[in-house]
């Protein structure tokens, strides 16, 4: 029961603090679910993100639904409790947006162009960029106590992983390949090469 409450509370906070869309949300989910609570490993989280990017709908919702199911299922072994877990994370994620958007609709003419509001947003935007970068770093490197840095071996087991990474980066950044196509292609390449 306490895990349900923790999941609900955690995803409520994630929903309330996500500024800048789905990728910003991934960084918050990563920080809470992997780094803080150790509910999932880096590699399990990476798999979930991959599946969430391929499934229709917002990436943040998909990831939250999947994480809710996975965390509860891993602990209980019950599909039914897993479904309840995914319900609680998804609901918790949407609830803050709901409350805040209702206020925004009421005040929306007054908020636009308000210099204080714009000032706060000007500070938050570059911060969010850093948060998303941190999510990518934390799926690659593990920082132990002191200055102990190691590679996340499950995500980058050998040099060939870096070839996958480099090709995907180039194809997505300059080639404008869609994420779905890249995930499908890399899965096929993995099946053939490994």
């Amino acid at each position: 029961m306490t895990v349900f409450l923790q999941l609900f509370f955690t995803f409520f906070i994630i929903g309330a603090f996500t500024i800048g869309g789905g990728y910003a949300m991934l960084s918050l989910i990563q920080a809470e679910v992997v780094t803080q609570h150790h509910w999932l490993s880096e590699s399990a989280f990476t798999d979930i993100v991959a599946v969430s990017q391929m499934t229709p709908g917002p990436v943040g919702i998909n990831t939250a639904t999947y994480v809710g199911y996975e965390v509860i299922y891993a602990q209980s072994g019950s599909h039914f409790l897993g479904i309840l877990g995914s319900l609680s994370t998804t609901l918790a994620l949407v609830l803050p947006s709901f409350l805040i958007m209702l206020l925004v609709v009421h005040f929306y003419t007054r908020m636009k162009g308000n210099p204080i509001y714009e000032g706060v947003m000007a500070g938050l935007r570059p911060t969010v960029v850093g948060l998303i970068g941190a999510a990518a770093v934390l799926l690659t490197l593990r920082f132990g106590p002191g200055l102990d840095v190691s590679l996340v071996k499950e995500n980058f087991p050998d040099w060939s992983s870096w070839v996958f990474f480099g090709l995907a980066f180039v194809a997505s950044y300059w080639g404008k390949f869609s994420p779905i196509l890249l995930i499908v292609l890399s899965a096929a390449a993995g099946l053939i090469l490994y």
Partner: protein, 186 residues
């Protein structure tokens, strides 16, 4: 609320469910579909659409969800907001759940392991690319890059929760903005 004729809640739910079920690739992919539906049905005046997108972007949460809440509320009030949000999220919720239930039984399958060994480094690249694009279009002032770097290091190396970082930055930015306002008025 003067909507052209009253839109039924079921209709709202179905329209947003269609958008939710057919957009792959997340929130930004949903915007043009939602816009097209709104225009086609004349639900919301065309000149209001950019405002709705901008406000949904700056409010916390997911863009697609925020737009659904906004549009649903404008059309039918609170019940409309609930119907539109349920519509936008339910299809992906059910799909992901089905995948999660099936996949948890296949995780140790050697084929699945091979496929995901190829996919995992790609996912990291796919998180990095939008981040760099956001930085290049959004980081215009001199302090933006050090701020991004500081947030990155604080979360990854120092293990500080993003929630605290966002709260601190928002507080400082708010204080600075208020001080600037007062200074400007004097």
């Amino acid at each position: 609320m003067t909507a052209p004729g009253r839109v039924s809640l079921l209709r709202l739910f179905l329209v947003f469910a269609r958008v939710g079920a057919f957009t792959i690739g997340g929130g930004y992919a949903m915007i043009p579909l939602i816009e097209a539906e709104m225009k086609k049905r004349k639900w919301i005046p065309v000149e209001e659409l950019p405002d709705i997108v901008a406000l949904s972007q700056s409010a916390p949460g997911l863009l697609a969800v925020n737009i659904s809440i906004f549009a649903g509320y404008r059309l039918r009030g609170l019940p409309g907001a609930i119907a539109a949000t349920l519509g936008a999220t339910l299809p992906s919720f059910l799909m992901i759940l089905a995948i999660a239930m099936v996949f948890s039984g296949f995780k140790d399958n050697p084929w699945v392991i091979k496929a995901f060994r190829g996919v995992r480094p790609v996912v990291v690249a796919l998180i990095l690319v939008p981040m760099i694009k956001m930085a290049r279009s959004g980081n215009r002032s001199w302090w933006a890059w050090p701020l991004s770097a500081a947030a990155l290091i604080a979360v990854s190396v120092l293990g500080i929760s993003p929630v605290w970082i966002l709260l601190c930055v928002a507080t400082v930015a708010y204080t600075l903005a208020v001080m600037r306002e007062k200074g400007g008025r004097r």
